[in-house]
Symmetry: C2
Subunit: 352 residues, 2 copies
């Protein structure tokens, strides 16, 4: 059994670092907001100092990294969409130089979340699992036959780009009608605003709802949105913080009974159900875990998802599939990164 490992989780919102024991339990951890602006050197220095503060000089048996894509893989030069400061930044190589003599491995952050849910979360015990995260984007990772599937370039798991409406809205990928184009928080919020949604506009006002539910945003990168004022009086009182027009607020407003927000959850749930039905047919899945900001909407999202999934997944083998909320919360990214080292027989295939 190897010693503890260092886990690194890099996102557009925060950097997180942890020492993870061989049992997959986080021993010490730290996080810091991703430095704003685009200086590659400052980004690296921030990460380097965070690592020192968390791990000190203790030896580690390896380093696992989850990072937003795209990236060259398994080499690990990263160009995260939400971090313009790193373009072809040799993140894996830098960490390999900092931790010589031990394996240093990297994968897409959504893939790490899926590995975590399979290893220690809601997908445990299943051999065929899709792990999804529905947040600013819609990402995922695929475990088949008990092993993480990489695909030809490390990009397997892009469930967000299953096409659910061929004539639907344009997608950031350059295509059209992808699941992500419809169900990503900002896309869904934009659709709701078009329908007349006033964020936080239900009930007694927006202030009490504008706080982010800490610890619930596994992906940690819901875009803040356009922050429309929520007050119903002519002039918003100074203490009322504007409720953001984002997916999380949409989930909160749906829970408060806002009919447009409810329609938006139905729209997202239907798109998710279609994509999951397609993935289940292609991959003969046992279980699908769904995490990320939007999944906090609970039955408001999962009920229309199930309704659509069950209408389309009719063959015996497909009816077996279970869709469950992700269970690991905000540590999932770190646990999944650690799994690349600690449970390599399941989650790491490339030759090094």
């Amino acid at each position: 059994m190897p010693g503890p490992v260092l886990a690194v989780d890099i996102g557009g919102t925060k950097f997180a670092v942890a020492v993870v024991g061989p049992d997959g339990v986080v021993r010490t951890a730290g996080r810091i907001a991703t430095p704003p602006g685009g200086d590659a050197r400052i980004l690296w220095k921030t990460l380097d100092e965070l690592i020192t503060s968390v791990a000190g000089d203790s030896p580690v048996a390896g380093v696992g990294i989850g990072c937003g894509g795209p990236m060259s893989w398994p080499e690990g030069s990263v160009s995260p969409l939400n971090m313009p400061g790193w373009r072809d930044f040799p993140l894996r190589e830098r960490l390999a130089r900092r931790f010589p003599g031990v394996p240093v491995r990297i994968h897409n952050d959504a893939v790490c979340l899926a590995a975590a849910e399979h290893w220690r979360g809601a997908g445990r015990g299943s051999a065929n699992m899709l792990g999804m995260v529905v947040s600013t984007g819609v990402g995922g990772g695929l475990i088949l036959g008990g092993r993480l599937i990489d695909g030809g370039s490390g990009n397997a798991g892009h469930i967000g780009h299953i096409i659910v409406d061929p004539d639907g809205p344009p997608c950031g990928c350059g295509g059209r009608g992808c699941l992500e184009a419809i169900a990503r928080g900002p896309g869904l919020a934009a659709w709701a605003v078009e329908q007349g949604w006033v964020p936080g506009g239900v009930g007694s006002g927006g202030a009490e709802r504008s706080g982010r539910a800490e610890g619930a945003d596994e992906a940690g990168d819901d875009a803040p949105g356009s922050g429309a004022f929520a007050g119903t009086s002519g002039v918003a009182p100074a203490y009322v913080e504007a409720a953001p027009a984002n997916g999380r607020q949409l989930a909160l407003d749906a829970a408060a009974g806002d009919p447009i927000a409810l329609s938006a959850m139905h729209r997202a749930g239907r798109a998710l159900g279609l994509a999951i039905a397609s993935a289940t047919h292609l991959c003969d899945l046992d279980v699908v875990t769904v995490g990320g900001g939007l999944s906090q909407a609970g039955p408001l999202l999962f009920d229309p998802l199930e309704e659509t999934l069950r209408a389309h997944a009719r063959m015996d083998f497909a009816r077996r599939v279970r869709v469950v909320p992700a269970s690991l919360g905000q540590e999932a990214g770190l646990v999944g990164a650690a799994a690349l080292i600690l449970a390599a027989d399941h989650y790491w295939s490339p030759r090094e």
Copy 2:
């Protein structure tokens, strides 16, 4: 290196049996039309005699079987959709009793076709491949990381039930808008007839086009269709055989310039392009092979397929995917069945 193996390919149209050398080359083979009617005993007797006539008393190192689904897997009790005489028929067990002491393995016929194309056909050298067959149904098999993917119940590869039009036509699976509902030969032909298609009605008459292109139908199970008379005179001359309203005739008529048949090819190509884009995004594929009757339409089908695929698969990793015609012809099913024994490290995972 093991000795030769027995390969068995069971379909609604024909039974085929071969002795296949360790190099994957068919040494001797035989085929017979599937006995009409529904007697389980006669079906088995027919297969048993065909095996004797092909293999005689020579010892074999194992038996590989491809059979239409559904089936219990890996146990191999089969209930092929097109063979009502076998319901929960213990095909694998019967063959295991007939060939004691050697491995006897079974998989879905479309999965065997994919294994064959990966092992010795158009997908050779690729580690991440989807093998498709577009015929009476639309089936497939998935190879990822160089290994055949089984899924939780042996049903991975059901590309025909990727949803390409959520509000589209009902599908035989009980769902709606699946690729198969649109692109399967009989479905496409029915759509064309609705649009006013007269099978074989282009050019000088239907007779010369009504013959089936022997050796080209890998799946061998295009339904004969409703056989409308093709003559353009008031009374069809007695020697003009009615052209069948099926996918193969549709491909022939498209090649002859029939505008409705061309529209049908476009419709099928678009549905295939959408499903392949979705599968490529989810599985990060290197190559997709397309076989079966409809693929004989060549560019008439592949051009609209490519157009739709390239419009939707825009990310760098997805643009890599190549779509190529299957290359093994009618032996593919036998070669794939043999691969379950001869190349088990790639194509056979279950514990026995």
